[in-house]
């Protein structure tokens, strides 16, 4: 191989990466366009209102945290099905800490609670070699049991009960960007430019304004922290020594061990961090979203977080995008039945577009399938006035299934993900 070839290879690699980023931007633009059109046509303003985007952000945070948690664990090679249980621990300790000591303590204790769950999972899988899925399921069961018991001890008779805590007031700071979104720096009420644009209901312009405003108004500090965690995770895992060692444990632990990397320690680190993030997600749910601990409030978000991680191809930005998607589905869910109904139209159009794309590419069976489903969804939209309440409830779960079904094939998980590793094992 000549030196000239070496240099062109590097340049090509960079070009490839830039192309992919541009592709994603195009796709995003297309989606905004379609949403805008559907909103304008159906008059379901909630489809693209800043309130919805705000809610999407708020509902996406726990999923994003869970997804990042899953990412840390799987990047070191350990599958963490117990994220849900660790999140449950986060909700309980977040509530209890919030009630007893204050909101910030709730956050800290929530994180610690989740981390403890992570530690249990790590000990079982890394040191004892228990099957990773079995251990995760056991952690989920244990977490549910422990929190129920603790609720009985701590909450009954103190304003709560076996399945819920007393009200938790959260005095965590909220941020709103001034000028653009009507923030109040030093008590002065600044103009709300984006809000003004949004209220004009202009095609596309208003929708984009709403999107930006949703990300700038009433942001909890925890949300900001979570969003910062995305680039921070990238930097940590891809740009630091410790991050490289952690990733090596998930790619080729035997090679890493042979070079002196303490693989067991790396896995412990990944799993405990994963638990801590899930705990933070739980604390967020209680302190920011609900204001109370309730049994079952995690509602499968730990697993949806895993789906976000898979859909995000085990990369932080991908996880963030996927979490945003799920958050949006959740937000529509809560805000407006009309918007959910309008979403049907969007899905129908998207499917029909996809069908055309497939057919052009020559993939007949996929195209026909997409087209058929698209027609069915359109008929459903046209024939009904609204979507039944129970169906709205299941939207995020159906979305998860669909996302996984579509995406699971062309992905690149860490090479040794999920594989058991015992120190001293040789490659075959």
């Amino acid at each position: 191989m000549s030196w000239a070839a070496v240099d062109t290879a590097q340049v090509e690699g960079e070009k490839g990466r830039r192309l992919e980023a541009r592709r994603i931007l195009y796709l995003l633009g297309l989606v905004m366009l379609m949403l805008s059109a559907v909103r304008w046509f159906t008059d379901a303003s909630d489809l693209t209102s800043s309130g919805t985007y705000s809610a999407a952000l708020r509902l996406g945070v726990p999923i994003l945290l869970a997804g990042l948690g899953g990412l840390y664990a799987e990047r070191t090679g350990v599958v963490n099905i117990g994220l849900e249980g660790m999140m449950i621990l986060g909700t309980w300790f977040g509530a209890w800490g919030g009630v007893e000591f204050g909101a910030w303590w709730g956050v800290v204790l929530g994180i610690l609670g989740g981390a403890m769950g992570g530690l249990v999972h790590a000990v079982a899988t890394v040191s004892f070699g228990v099957n990773q899925i079995v251990s995760g399921v056991a952690v989920n069961i244990l977490a549910a049991g422990v929190t129920r018991f603790l609720s009985v001890i701590a909450f009954t008779g103190h304003g709560g009960g076996a399945t819920q805590s007393p009200q938790v007031t959260s005095n965590l700071p909220n941020l709103t960007v001034p000028v653009l979104a009507g923030g109040k720096p030093f008590g002065w009420q600044s103009p709300d430019l984006l809000g003004w644009f949004e209220r004009q209901h202009w095609f596309l312009v208003s929708d984009i304004a709403a999107l930006f405003r949703g990300f700038m108004a009433e942001l909890s500090i925890l949300t900001v922290i979570t969003l910062l965690l995305v680039p921070a995770t990238y930097f940590f895992l891809w740009r630091t020594r410790l991050g490289l060692r952690m990733r090596s444990a998930g790619e080729n632990p035997v090679a890493a061990e042979s070079l002196g990397v303490p693989v067991y320690t790396m896995k412990y680190l990944g799993v405990v961090i994963s638990g801590a993030l899930a705990g933070l997600a739980g604390a967020f749910l209680v302190l920011e979203a609900a204001g109370i601990y309730r049994e079952g409030q995690t509602g499968g978000r730990g697993f949806i977080g895993l789906a976000a991680m898979i859909f995000g191809n085990w990369r932080p930005t991908g996880v963030a995008a996927a979490a945003g998607l799920f958050g949006y589905a959740d937000a529509l869910n809560l805000r407006s039945a009309q918007a959910v109904h309008a979403l049907l139209l969007f899905v129908a159009i998207a499917l029909l577009g996809l069908a055309v794309w497939y057919l052009i590419r020559g993939r007949i069976s996929a195209g026909v399938l997409a087209g058929a489903i698209g027609v069915l969804v359109f008929v459903w939209y046209a024939v009904t006035e609204d979507v039944p309440r129970q169906f709205i409830f299941i939207t995020p779960y159906v979305a998860t299934l669909l996302v996984l079904a579509v995406a699971s094939q062309r992905l690149r998980p860490p090479a040794a993900d999920g594989l058991p590793y015992r120190r001293g094992q040789q490659t075959s």
Binding site: R239, R241, A255
Partner: protein
């Protein structure tokens, strides 16, 4: 430290494992800045010796000296600290990481925890240029060809300051051009004062590249020679200890009836054709051998014949019937037997008792099952037969398979396949890991089965086995059959050169 002292000197090294003497009073002296080859057959003791030199095993007796000073290695870390680096035969690379990440892992340059990419890149480029090992640090290892990946392994050890390189069978997975590039790299390294120990069993390569050659046989150092003064044939004799095996003259049992017929078989993995246009027949009473360096399509060929990987092109016929689209199970039931290459991975249920292992592959047929039910009694009886006829050393048919030694496990597998009297037997490395006596017994069984009409496809790295058993010998290289040879008259040079692509066959 004496400048004229040998770079490495192993004196009177002895190492015994339970039941076998791996190294018996072995001596090895390597002059600084030379390429020193260590040759010997499989099991001759070369790998044990190198593991000792690299600190992975401690010798029972003898001394190791590096640059004139005696050393005691407790682990590879000590060896690395002494400037010794090992490039393993099976690469230890994380394919999803870049070259840079693989090279610096464990010894990363940092600014307070943050990776100093610039420093790493600069050092790698320096090393690359200095030692003539061109590599782009930012490419994913997955995108590299095998020869380039080997260079990453070399860079890994150079990065840690190695001045003495041990290469373990480095050309085992390379194609001819990559071998040439590797040799050029080694010459460059030598010019810069690096000492290289080159372990191989490929005599033509060794003669080409080495400055001196040590031959090891059965745990002893047999000779140390200079390549100028010896021919490949003489080296081979030193290695094997006598004349090369000549297949015994016997009456041919090959009939005219074609049992297995493979036509224009092609298998594509991603963009690459791992098998191309493979065509051959196996007749009743015939053993067809396929020789070749590991990784040239043998695995894909076996998978395609067994029905585990559908070929993109071509067809397979069993005794006249087209079985190309048949399921794996159907092929088994039709009488195709299989001795897999990796017995732990594909041949055994380790925690299960022997009688359940004897069923593997035949669980839908008598005597192991009748109707939907498993016939335990029949399974036990058959297992006892296999144990008896193939001399599997075990307390009984209920012993779990993991409790058997590797050799006995292999005997069980061979026995269970052959006792079922298959029409066609696909055997990949059937005597790997068996002691010599058992190996001979298995060969006897194979010969007996052949005389009774078995058609056998033999894929092996053991040249003695191939030459001794085959009626027809093919050579596979890069997914294609490049030669059809007569085992009775082929020479090792001829066989070796076909296996490495040095000479293309004009005809099949």
């Amino acid at each position: 430290m004496d400048e004229q002292a040998p770079a490495v000197e192993l004196k009177a090294i002895t190492k015994t494992f339970p039941g076998v003497v791996a190294n018996d009073d072995v001596n090895l002296t390597v002059v600084p800045g030379e390429i020193h080859a260590v040759v010997g057959e499989n099991g001759a003791g070369k790998s044990t010796l190198m593991k000792i030199l690299y600190g992975m095993i401690r010798p029972d007796g003898g001394t190791i000296s590096v640059k004139g000073r005696e050393v005691h290695f407790r682990s590879p870390k000590d060896a690395i600290a002494s400037g010794i680096g090992m490039v393993h035969q099976h690469f230890m690379l994380a394919t999803n990481l870049t070259v840079l990440e693989n090279v610096v892992l464990g010894s990363e340059p940092t600014h307070g925890g943050v990776l100093d990419f610039d420093a790493a890149r600069e050092r790698i480029r320096d090393l690359s240029k200095t030692y003539g090992v061109p590599l782009d640090p930012d490419r994913l290892v997955e995108d590299l060809a095998v020869g380039e990946r080997q260079r990453v392994e070399i860079l890994k050890v150079l990065y840690r300051g190695a001045r003495i390189l041990i290469l373990d069978e480095p050309t085992a997975v390379l194609v001819p051009q990559e071998v040439e590039e590797l040799f050029r790299n080694l010459e460059d390294l030598k010019d810069r004062g690096v000492t290289i120990i080159f372990i191989s069993h490929k005599l033509d390569e060794v003669l080409e590249i080495a400055d001196s050659i040590t031959v090891i046989r059965a745990g002893n150092t047999v000779a140390t020679v200079k390549p100028q003064g010896v021919t490949a044939r003489q080296l081979a004799e030193l290695m094997v200890g006598s004349e090369l095996p000549t297949p015994e003259t016997r009456e041919s049992t090959v009939t005219d009836e074609v049992m297995l017929s493979v036509r224009q078989m092609g298998v594509r993995v991603g963009e690459r054709w791992t098998l191309q246009d493979v065509t051959f027949d196996i007749r009743r009473g015939e053993i067809v051998g396929i020789a070749g360096v590991e990784g040239n399509g043998q695995r894909e060929l076996v998978d395609a014949i067994m029905g585990m990987r559908p070929p993109q092109q071509g067809s397979i016929h069993l005794g006249g019937e087209d079985i190309t689209l048949w399921s794996s199970r159907r092929r088994r039931e039709a009488g195709i037997g299989y001795v897999p290459e990796d017995r732990h991975l594909r041949g055994l249920l380790l925690p299960s008792p022997l009688w359940e292992n004897a069923m593997l592959g035949k669980q839908t047929m008598p005597p192991f099952s009748s109707g939907p039910w498993i016939d335990r009694r029949g399974a036990h009886q058959r297992t006892v037969e296999v144990i008896r006829e193939y001399h599997v050393a075990t307390p009984g048919p209920d012993t779990p398979a993991l409790a058997l030694s590797g050799g006995n496990q292999q005997k069980l597998i061979v026995g269970r396949e052959m006792i079922a009297e298959p029409k066609v037997l696909i055997a990949a490395q059937p005597t790997r890991g068996i002691d010599v006596g058992a190996q001979a017994a298995v060969w006897e069984h194979i010969r007996g089965a052949r005389a009774a009409g078995l058609a056998l496809l033999l894929i092996s790295a053991d040249l003695e086995e191939l030459i001794g058993l085959s009626d027809t010998l093919y050579v596979i290289l890069r997914g294609a059959l490049v030669a059809k040879l007569d085992p009775a008259t082929v020479t090792p040079e001829e066989l070796g050169s076909y296996m490495t692509g040095a000479r293309e066959a004009a005809s099949r």
